[in-house]
């Protein structure tokens, strides 16, 4: 067991966390709705799974009020940062993932195939999520999803 080197967050990082938190503090009372925690994480460049979010939320929620207070959010987030818990998914990794699904190596997926995977495996999509994804990714003309093209267009830089 060794102590992590930097236990105290520097002000820059602190302000970044504060900024992300405050963007959702609609009542200006230093709390955010737990439903927004996912978005806050993502905006900071983390990629937690739904299960990760659930765990995090259950640890920091204010007595099942539906809200998380800054005072509990900050230490928990600090831990996340130090342990680099939810690292981003690189483009290469993503490409590999798509290639696993594209067994015949055609360079594209059919909408039905993608739907099959996304709605039945892992942490399944809702119908709404699936519809949106298909609308965003499907090529107009031949109704294929050319994942290689899609990936760079939609990747956003990690903010931290």
């Amino acid at each position: 067991f060794c102590l992590p080197e930097a236990i105290v967050l520097n002000t820059k990082v602190l302000k970044k966390l504060k900024g992300a938190f405050q963007a959702f503090d609609t009542k200006s009372d230093n709390t955010v709705d737990i439903k927004e925690i996912g978005t806050i994480f993502y905006s900071l460049g983390f990629f937690p799974t739904q299960a990760d979010l659930q765990t995090f939320t259950s640890e920091v929620e204010d007595e099942r009020s539906g809200y998380i207070h800054w005072d509990r959010f900050l230490p928990a987030m600090t831990k996340v940062l130090l342990e680099d818990k939810f690292p981003p998914i690189s483009d290469e990794l993503l490409l590999q993932a798509f290639e696993v699904l594209d067994k015949e190596k055609r360079g594209y997926l059919e909408p039905e195939e993608l739907t099959d995977y996304m709605t039945k495996e892992g942490e399944p999509f809702t119908q709404e999520e699936m519809d949106e994804m298909l609308t965003a990714f499907t090529d107009e003309e031949n109704k294929h999803i050319y994942y290689k093209d899609v990936i760079p267009h939609l990747t956003l830089e990690r903010k931290m």
Partner: protein
């Protein structure tokens, strides 16, 4: 593939690596969607805060006009200009108006392919109008004027407060704005204001609204919103839209609309229990008073009566202004704890912010002699105090917003109306024996919001300006329990993907924001230098953010926006601010500091300036004389406490009058900014595109 296969077969078919791949993709996609949502939120915030600051400037404009009224000298040149400005507000006899708006000699040519209307209007014609507009037809000005005249006649009969009742089977629908889903059945609809200034087809929407009002007079109810006001329209684009679409008769149409807006009812009460209005209430709102005012002349009266103050009252002019926005301190409100964004109105520095000036105006104003009255309104008035109160009542109704804390304080963000708390709601509802308030006025991302123990419901449609928030409307049955129906925005958003619609809106929001930043360059520069003690021209990212925050007074997440607003960056996490200003620059290499400041100020206040010009241009010709231009600018500079020499103004005027004919084309003047802006904006956009999603339209 996978059709009709059971789950256990799936598990056999899909190996662990497949499952892992799927999870990864899901995770990544959700993250992407969430980030898009975040950007959508910022964009929305940007528009909102800029719109609010626009509204704030609007009220300042009113103040400025009132200030003009009070403070000119009989012998000065300004008097002509001011009488020129306010000739607009003369009240004509009704017969004169009817003559002015006569449509009878307007011919509709054979080749006109738009809809034809006959009066009294039929349902088929109203429905036909909707169809025609959908097919991008334009209604001929003759029919427009006719339609508006009939509307005006109808509106004049209506009381200030509509009263409707639900029968056992009828449901009432309350929309934030018009949404075209008229059934053929007789279902009452209440439209809650802000019909215009929300997109490019405001006049068409208005015409449809009025058409259905004429055809179903007992089923369509309109409430006035703060955008149903001709000065607001000047700023926000409706005026321009009408003048563009109706080049010959646009001015008449606008004048008639001005009258119509002033005649719109102020609120609607359903079953004596539910109050529907556009903005909200204050702790002094009294429906009894509101029911009795002459709603169509109250504003003019206000402006008029400020002039009638005697010497002692003039010294109290600044205080009177404060009283416009500050309600009487009520018990307990001063003991409210620190509010993070809303300042305490009774602190001296806030008070002075609200006031225009305390010291002697440099126009050497004296008290106006009574005989000047003949230049202005000729109507008589009641006691001046009552009229001020009436004006405030209406203002509160149209501009206020609810807040979570108790009390009632001036609405600093909008510059008009107030923020009111749950205790005020409670008190108001009890006093008037009501149970619910339904209002609009604030853009809500979900389209609706409850507050004050569910006694206040805000409902807002999607704005075609941003086009991506969800809209909502309210249905109310005889049980008076409201239920909300939410919908996604227009068909346009469905066609664009989430990514595209956010990208487009975001870009326009960012562009507006960059313009604002540039307009504050001098202040920002000063502030940056304070952090840059060694004069290296560099500030840290953090210092950049806090500086911008304090100078711009816009409540936005600057740290998160930084990467979109500053594309030049040093590797150690610092920003070269001179380089950044070059990035934002719109005027190229103007080395003359004085001219630069002038231009910058002009740019910053260009909306106000444009609005004033358009007011000065009373015949809506698009031109104002050099003389008027000089005087307007001079007055504005006094009001803004700027120091501009006569020489500088003259130089400016001469430069702008490019053909030396003694008049200035307003559009050309404003376009001068936009043109130079367009060039550098294009460059910036190209640079952005490469970094961004790479989507092209």
């Amino acid at each position: 593939m996978g059709c009709g296969v059971t789950k256990s077969n799936h598990l056999h078919k899909h190996t662990t690596s497949t499952i892992r791949a799927a999870i990864l993709i899901q995770r990544w996609y959700r993250q992407y969607v969430a980030r898009t949502e975040m950007r959508r939120r910022y964009t929305w915030n940007i528009f909102q805060s800029i719109e609010y600051s626009g509204e704030q400037a609007q009220i300042k404009l009113y103040n400025f006009l009132g200030y003009l009224m009070d403070n000119f000298t009989p012998s000065s040149n300004e008097r002509n200009l001011i009488s020129h400005i306010f000739r607009e507000n003369e009240v004509c006899r009704d017969a004169e108006w009817e003559r002015f708006f006569c449509y009878k000699n307007i011919e509709v040519p054979e080749i006109y392919s738009g809809p034809h209307l006959t009066f009294p209007l039929t349902v088929e014609e109203a429905v036909g109008l909707v169809e025609a507009f959908r097919n991008k037809k334009q209604l001929h000005s003759r029919y427009v004027l006719q339609l508006l005249l009939e509307t005006w006649k109808l509106l004049r009969m209506l009381p200030n407060i509509n009263r409707i009742s639900t029968c056992h089977s009828k449901e009432i629908t309350i929309c934030g704005m018009i949404k075209i889903f008229f059934d053929s059945g007789e279902k009452p609809y209440v439209f809650n204001g802000d019909f215009v200034d929300r997109g490019r087809d405001s006049i068409e929407i208005l015409l449809i609204l009025f058409a259905f009002l004429l055809v179903y007079p007992s089923d369509v109810y309109l409430n006035r919103g703060n955008h149903e006001d001709h000065i607001v329209n000047l700023r926000y684009g409706f005026t321009k839209e009408v003048l563009n679409k109706y080049k010959m008769h646009g001015k008449r149409i606008l004048k008639l609309l001005q009258k119509i807006f002033s005649w719109l009812p102020l609120a609607t009460v359903i079953d004596q229990k539910v109050l529907v209005l556009h903005g909200g209430i204050s702790d002094s709102t009294d429906l009894g008073v509101l029911a009795r005012v002459d709603r169509h002349i109250v504003r003019n009266q206000h402006v008029m009566n400020l002039r009638r103050r005697d010497t002692t009252a003039w010294r109290e002019y600044p205080l009177t202004r404060t009283q416009m926005w500050t309600p009487q301190p009520s018990a307990g409100s001063s003991s409210v704890g620190p509010l993070s964004r809303i300042p305490n109105p009774w602190e001296p520095d806030i008070a002075s912010k609200i006031l225009s000036r305390r010291e002697e105006p440099t126009l050497n104003a004296q008290i106006n002699k009574p005989e000047q009255d003949s230049l202005f309104l000729s109507t008589d008035s009641g006691s001046s105090d009552t009229t001020v109160d009436e004006w405030k009542q209406i203002l509160d109704l149209l501009w206020s917003d609810p807040m979570t804390q108790d009390g009632c304080i001036p609405n600093e963000v909008r510059g008009g109306g107030c923020y009111w708390g749950p205790d005020v709601t409670e008190d108001f509802l009890n006093r008037h024996n009501l149970q619910l308030i339904i209002r609009s006025h604030e853009c809500k991302q979900e389209g609706y919001e409850f507050c004050h123990n569910r006694k206040v419901t805000s409902v807002f449609p999607s704005s075609s300006m941003t086009g991506f928030n969800r809209g909502a409307y309210v249905k109310l049955g005889p049980d008076l329990v409201p239920y909300l129906i939410q919908y996604q925005a227009s068909s346009m958003t469905r066609e664009l993907t989430v990514r595209q619609s956010v990208g487009r809106t975001e870009r326009s929001a960012l562009r507006v924001l960059r313009e604002q930043l540039f307009a504050h360059k001098s202040d920002l520069l000063c502030a940056f230098r304070k952090f840059d003690s060694e004069n290296k021209g560099l500030v840290s990212l953090n210092d950049w953010a806090s500086t911008v925050e304090s100078v711009m007074h816009l409540d936005l997440p600057w740290r998160m926006l930084r990467s979109q607003l500053v594309t030049c960056k040093n590797s150690e996490g610092t920003i070269d601010y001179y380089e950044w200003f070059n990035e934002l620059a719109i005027t190229g290499s103007k080395t003359d500091v004085r001219t630069h400041r002038l231009l910058e100020t002009l740019y910053r206040h260009r909306s106000t300036l444009e609005t004033i010009f358009r007011i000065v241009d009373t015949d809506n010709s698009g031109f104002i004389s050099i003389q008027d231009f000089r005087q307007t600018w001079k007055l504005l500079s006094v009001y803004l406490k700027m120091e501009i020499t006569d020489e500088a103004i003259s130089d400016l005027a001469v430069t702008i009058d490019s053909n030396h004919d003694g008049s200035i084309d307003i559009d050309e003047f404003m376009e001068a900014f936009r043109l130079t802006d367009k060039k550098s904006r294009k460059k910036r956009m190209e640079g952005m595109e490469i970094k961004c999603t790479g989507t092209s339209y």
